[in-house]
Structures are given as C-alpha cells and as structure tokens.
Amino acid sequence: AEEKTVIRVGVQAAGTLEWELTALQDDPAVKASDFQLKIEHLANAEAGKIALQSGAVDMIVSDWVWVSSLRADGADFTFYPYSNTSGALVVPENSTIHSIEDLKGKHLGIAGGELDKNWVLLQALVKKSNLNLDASVKKTFGAPPLINEQIKQNRVDAVLTYWHFAARLEAQGYRQIIDGKGILKGLGISENVPSIGYVFKQSWAENHKQAIKSFLAASKKAKNQLCVSDDAWQKIIPLTHVDDVPTQKILRQRYCEGGVEQWGDKEQQAAARIYEMLRSVSNKKLTGQSEHLQTGTFWAVK
C-alpha cells in the first residue's frame, strides 16, 4: 500500500476544530483514506501562528486577511474556508440598547483590540449614519474572558466579542444586537464570506493535493455529522468544557450556522471588497501596505 500522507494540524484547545477532528477520527471511512492526521494541541491563536511558521504543523485555522499580508511579504501560505461564524455585539436583556445607533455615549467592551475585524467593520457601518463610533463610545479593550466578566458585573453596557463568548452570554439571556454577518450585510455584502479557514503552505498543498482534498472533504462531513447526529454531538460534548445544556445548545446552533455552503468567485470577490474596506477603515493597520487582496490567498482547488 502507498504511504499515507501525514497531515499535522495545529488545534486550539477547546476550539471547534478540535470537536470536528475528534468526530472525524471516529469515522471508519477515514481510516481507509489516504491521509493520516496528527493533532498538535496549542493554547491559543498566536501559538498556532508560531507553530505554522516554524514548520511544526502543516495546517492551522486562521483568517484570510492575515494570509494575504503574509503573501504580501513573500510567504506562500494559502487559505481554504472552514467556517463563517463571526463575533457579535451583545447587551444585557433589559438594556436600553436596541440598535447600533444606541451605542452612542455608552461603554463598550471589545474583545481583542482595536484591530478586531468586527470592530473595524462596525465602525464602517456606523459611519454610514454619520456617526463616529470610535469617538462617541467609551471603549475598553481586553481579553475575551475578561470582557465577558465586565458585562456580567455591569461595568460595560455592551460587548463586541468572539462568537463562542457571545454564545455563552446569550445562553444566560443576553441579547444579540448584531453579528458579523449582519454588519457585513449592512455594508452591502450579502455573500456569505467565511471568516476563518485552514491555512497552509501552497507548495506543500500542491505536493499533497489528493490527501488534502480528502481531508477537507472528511472535515466537512464530520461537521455535518455533528449537526445532524445527536449521538455524534453527545460524544464531543466534553470537549466544549461547558456543562449547562442551554449553552451547549446555543454553541451547537451557532457552530452549525457557520457552515460554508458556497465558496466561489462571487464570495472571493466579496472578500476582496471587504479587504479594501478593512484597509481604509483601519488605516492600513490591519492589512498592511498591500492595496489589494493578494492573488492566491484563496486556495484554488482543482
């Protein structure tokens, strides 16, 4: 028999990729296929980026803006969509905030930092109604868990945070004002553009095309499985590290909503438009100097 291609994947602890790959390895069909998974556990996103660049793993999940800026620097990483779940703006149930315009003068907690994609896009959206969000709200940036605590202790009025942190808040009755998709829609982009995806070296991918294709397919299948089969879902529940049922439910719901159905020219062109928006609003900080989305950012599966 032919040697199986080893794919080393950097997996963030407690992330959805871990759920998916665990489900995938349960699938008997995978045993017969032409790739073999090796999972490297990593603590956070930055660790993943380091691992990928130091060659310790072949593949991680990250975002395409970063891939484009890497390519602009001459690296040959490329991107294949994984999910389009996106962060959300969440407020307490009884909050007076009902739309993004109500944010004016309020205290907003933002996960990540000023270069958080959702924050940048939210500013662009609000600008349309002639409001300078950056100047008109009181901002607190911080790590997502701390931001979550802030709103629970009523130290901020609203939070813009990553999707699974938003999901947890929702499970406790917090209200979602808008999510990443909604923001994009408001900005006139109706296509479902994936927010994160597999990132790997293009040269490596060309050499192992077949194995990667089967892997990507198997990954998709596993995701489906988690969404349709309660059995499969039950199995990975410990990996969510959540023990109350409502939160589990909403996590699963959001996760499954994030499936990537469409990925073609239209979506890629939309991505290019988003890129330019990000570039102008963040004043090139998020994207780097390059004017356009680099060609080759998205892996062309043939």
Partner: protein, 236 residues
Amino acid sequence: MLVFIAIWQALAAYFASHTLPTPAIVATVFWQSCVTGELPFHLGATLLRLVVSFSIAMLLGCALGIVLGRNKRLDAFFDNWLVIFLNVPALVTIILCYVWFGLIESAAILAVVLNKLPNVIVTIREGTRALDQDLLEMAKCYNLSKHDTLVHVIWPQLHPFVMGATRSGLALIWKIILVVELLGRSNGMGYQLHLFFQLFDVASILAYTIAFVAVIQLIELMILKPLDKKALQWRR
C-alpha cells in the same frame, strides 16, 4: 553596537524571511511610528505605569524587606505568605485583579505591584540579614536615631541589593506590564505588541522593543550609573 547591527543584517540577509526583517526595515517602521506619534504615545503610557508601579513596589519592598530581615518573629510568620505571593503566576494575579476591580488603571498597577513586590522583599531581606552587626552595635551605642541608623548605617550596606533589585526589577516589571496591558488595557506597549503579534508584524515588534530598550538604557546611563558611582566612591 555596530557589531550587533552588522550581525543582525547578515543574519537577516541570509534567512531573507519576514520573521527576521533587516535593520533598515525596522528603522523605517520605527521612524514612521514615531512620526505618527503612535510609538511615543504607547511608550509614554507604559512608562507611566512602569514608574508608578516600580516606585510603589520598591518603596514598600525595601521597607518590608528590612523589617522582615531584622525581625525573626515577623519573618517566620510572613515567610510562607511571601513564598505564596512570589509564586502565584502573574497571569493569575492579573486576572483576579481585573476581575475583582474591573478593567481599570489602578487594577493594572496593583497587578504589577503584586508581582514585583515579593521579589524586592526577598532580595532586600537577604541583604538585611547580611548586615554588619559591628556597625549596628556602634549605631546603637552612640544612640543614633532610627532615621540616622537607617539612612547612614543600613542603607549603604543594602546598596548592592537595591541596585540588583532595581535592575532586574525594571526588567521584570516591563515583562509583567506587557501581559497586564495585553489582557486589559487599551494602550501601552503590551497592547500594541499584542496587535503586532496578531498580525505577526515582526518589524514593528522589534521597532517597539528597540524604543523601550533605548529608554531603559537611558535610565541606566542617566540615573543608575551616576547613583552607583556616587554610592561607591568610597570603595578602594
């Protein structure tokens, strides 16, 4: 200095990787972020926190260190606490400070102080234990006031320990402050470095690092070295 830049240039040229930009690129980035005022702003924010928390930690630490070093009973009592505080992970104190007091400036400062303080205490305590008994006896028998004994008899003997604590303390605070800013501040070097790190912008990271190291060098040259020289002029 020049040697350093030359080695760097050679390595960068050899690897030609974006993970190790050439000095020229870093210099450009440095210049640009100075011009936009971004670097001075964040550097200033961090320095302010550094000065405040450093001063608090050193003052408190020296006072407590001397007390513990001279009083065996108190020392035995607080020793365990000291080891605990010394070894509670920075991350934990920072998180707890933020959670309990909110994402505010004073929580950040408190977190830094809590991390640095035990270090100072431990160093100064060792120094106090090594004090020359002969000189202390002299002070006692000539009825020197508490103040005079502290300033003129004890302090000069602690000087090397204080300098050690200062130098490694500046470095430690700088390391901790980055984490503090990363987790819950909206400005400062830690916040910026985190952003660059997310983008994997090594050139900017290095540019900021250089700016900071330059400031510390300045502190060393303008404050610590002259202090050292003044305090040690009596040594043969």
